[in-house]
């Protein structure tokens, strides 16, 4: 039982990798759910027509609000983290990796971070594509 609430997740002092994995899995999950609803609201602007939608995409991709690119990168980070740790937890359910939690955690997260860098590289490369 976690009675400390969300603030308690960030109290990682003197706690191990397991607690960090637990806390950040939940935090990243909440961030993704909030983003999901923001994404739905954003996509609703498709109904306003080409000019409005393209203008919004243009503004958050090429400026003046291109700070959203940084937020997109942070979002990609939490998605890749959440996915990799989620795969580890799913495999644990089948008894895979139970004896070497720490090793599996670092292995999956390392792979996911390499994939994240590749994703960001290609996304940046094709940022100009319409």
């Amino acid at each position: 039982m976690n009675k400390t609430g969300i603030a308690g997740w960030f109290n990682i002092k003197d706690k191990g990798t397991g607690y960090f994995a637990f806390a950040f899995q939940r935090f990243s999950g909440l961030v993704i759910v909030i983003y999901l609803y923001m994404h739905l609201i954003f996509l609703s602007s498709l109904l306003d027509g080409r000019t409005t939608y393209n203008s919004l995409v243009q503004n958050i991709t090429y400026g003046p609000f291109d700070i959203f690119i940084v937020m997109d990168m942070l979002l990609a980070l939490v998605i890749f983290y959440h996915g990799a740790n989620g795969i580890r937890l799913a495999l644990n359910e089948f008894g895979i990796g139970l004896k070497h939690h720490k090793l599996f955690f670092y292995a999956y997260e390392s792979i996911s971070m390499v994939l994240l860098v590749l994703f960001l590289y290609y996304a940046y490369l094709f940022l100009g594509g319409h």
């Binding site: 397991g18 637990f22 909440l30 999901l36 580890r88 290609y122």
Partner: protein, 125 residues
């Protein structure tokens, strides 16, 4: 590493946890494709209005995105349920959480479906 800490959401019960794992596995597939299409697609990312419309005018992609919406919503809101169950353990609180999130799921799923269908019916300029 303490596995008790790294495993979360056990308060969901066996079925809720199993569905969380299954939808999570599906999301690797759905989200992987979505991220590729929307951000990379080797020079032709589906980002601007016409590209989005062309994509959703294809019935298979329309079905893909509607199913994707249902799965990602379930996974997300079921996860929120697990987090809230850890914080509130009385039967009354949990019933309220479950009911509220179920309503939110249905409302969002209907909105997402209607939005996808509406966009798929906009004429491509």
């Amino acid at each position: 590493m303490n596995n008790k800490n790294s495993n979360g959401l056990k308060g969901l019960g066996p079925l809720g946890w199993l569905l969380q794992v299954i939808t999570g596995v599906f999301l690797i597939f759905f989200l992987g494709i979505h991220l590729y299409l929307a951000n990379i697609d080797f020079g032709h990312p589906i980002r601007f209005f016409t590209a989005v419309l062309e994509n959703l005018h294809n019935g298979y992609w329309l079905a893909f995105y509607i199913v994707f919406t249902y799965i990602v919503l379930y996974h997300g809101l079921n996860g929120v349920r697990g987090i809230l169950y850890d914080r509130f353990d009385s039967q009354k609180s949990r019933a309220l959480i479950k009911y509220s999130l179920s309503v939110l799921y249905v409302v969002t799923a209907i909105y997402g479906t209607l939005l996808a269908l509406a966009v798929s019916r906009i004429a491509i300029p």
